[in-house]
Amino acid sequence: MSEKTDIGRELDGVLQKPKRQLAMVFDLNKCLGCHTCSISCKRQWTREEGMDNMWWAVVNTMPGKGTPKNWEGMGGGWDEKGEPRPSKIPTRDEFGDAWKFNKEEVFHGGKGKTVYLKPVNTKGEDPDWGPNWDEDEGGGEYPNSHFFYLPRICNHCTHPACLEACPRGAIYKRDEDGVVLINDKQCKGFRFCMEACPYKRIYYNHVRDVTQKCIFCFPRVEKGVAPACARQCPGRLRFVGYLDDENGPIHKLVHKFKVALPLHQEYGTQPNVYYVPPLSPPAVDMHGKVDPSKPRIPTEYLEGLFGPRVKDVLAVLEAEKEKKAKGLPSELMDTLIVYKWPENIFPDFVQDPANL
């Protein structure tokens, strides 16, 4: 992938290219699956009416069905020829919906000892899916069962299927930083964007009849404050910065060391969220014998998510880790370790929100 293709694209013969592109890199080797990111986003942005079912930032256990359920099989984005791939609108149940609990009955109805808290979905039914329903289940058979966490937000794509599907021109990509936003005054709730986004990172607000999604915390970013998910992350794995900033960690991880890969690049939207793929311990047999040639997370599985370069990336990571273990210098490892927080992880966004 050349640098050119991830910051510009042709549309109707015109090169579309924001002046700069904000991006994130998630180092999956550091994610704890604590959901602090999802919660801080939720508290910050999705507390209004009609937003109770929205999780602009989610963390999925992989292998797993994800949010919405089975989103990877829903289509959307672009095919190899650059034509739109038809898709569907994910349902509330597939997202997981917002549950209601019988709190009144349990806490105030005098039945606290006999009735337990029980969730129902909007339809009044027992929920059978949620944003983290298959959390920590993972894949593989004992003794080689495995899983890792995959945080997901809107990728603020360079070739955003959502934007290009909207008949209202309600979605736009900001020139100054490439952030993809929905103008809710223009949006009429037609939901073509929800269909066309192959990552299914757009929600429908039933109260306001508009769609809403991750805004890359643009009001924070404009004040030099990192997005809430990144600032709050205790694993310190969410790097934030501009792709063209050669001294920043984003450029280093994506372009210099080439260890950060987009998720499902084949969907053709040119995501601006990148992932450092997870390493795994070697496989073992029933007797506990280790086979160092086989990683516990099958490499083919990771290739299915992050493309054919996974093998090379894992090899680079292993080699650099080795170096570091031997006391040799490794700029790549130093970048991933983040010695100085926050300046090493989002150098342009180190303002403390508490001081604003």
Binding site: S87, E164, P167, R168, G169, F192, Y204, D209
Partner: protein, 216 residues
């Protein structure tokens, strides 16, 4: 079509079941599928080009005025009543009328410099219609300051919807049609079938203008 003046109260005009509608002569307007090739985005064209939509074949329209109001009564066949918006895939049934605000406004949503005014009724808000202005496909903006009241009945597999408004409007005057007794004006129609996830340009529309003579 003649829009007769009947000196009855606004409530009678606004009621699809009122006997006064028996005196109005209706017109049947043929509808056709809005072409997939004319959809404003490639995604929509690709998704819908081989799918059936806009299958509502016709709509019957009647119109009446009294001293200061006008009412349009639209009736069309729709065996499935879709009025809720709970699931992400719920799209309520809808209908719209389009009035050119200038001589040369194209029937397909107007154009730059030649706007159209849309009266848009949707089954999830059965008792009002929205007033929008558009200057081309994909440009409609909600004006909504002109109060168009509505009343809708779904019975025997048909929707009957009356949209009613003052002849002249003050607020948003520049973006809404002014109706002058004695005048002739044009209109056209669209119908969306909610059960088929129809919305935006995925609809049935009338490819010709209907002339209305407003009785003086």
């Amino acid at each position: 079509m003649l829009v007769k003046r009947m000196d009855v109260g606004g409530d009678a005009l606004g009621d699809p079941a009122a006997s006064v509608w028996g005196t109005a002569k209706g017109e049947t307007v043929a509808l056709m599928q809005a072409p997939a090739a004319m959809q404003p985005t490639k995604y929509i064209t690709t998704k819908w080009q081989d799918k059936p939509y806009g299958q509502t074949k016709s709509l019957t329209v009647k119109a009446l005025r009294n001293a200061d109001e006008i009412a349009f009564r639209l009736e069309w066949q729709d065996p499935t009543k879709n009025e809720q918006r709970i699931e992400n895939t719920d799209f309520p049934d809808a209908a719209a009328m389009l009035f050119p605000l200038s001589e040369d406004a194209p029937l397909f949503m107007g154009m730059e410099g030649a706007p159209v005014n849309l009266w848009y009724w949707r089954a999830d808000h059965p008792s009002r219609a929205r007033s929008d202005m558009a200057t081309g496909i994909g440009t409609s903006r909600v004006m909504d300051d002109t109060s168009i009241t509505a009343k809708a009945v779904h019975a025997n597999g048909r929707w009957t919807v009356v949209m009613r408004r003052a002849l002249r409007v003050e607020k948003e005057a520049a973006s809404a049609i002014q109706i002058v007794p004695g005048q002739t004006l044009r209109t056209t129609f669209a119908v969306w079938e909610g059960s088929n996830l129809e919305r935006a340009g995925i609809k049935a529309f009338s490819p010709a203008w209907l002339e209305l003579q407003i009785e003086a």
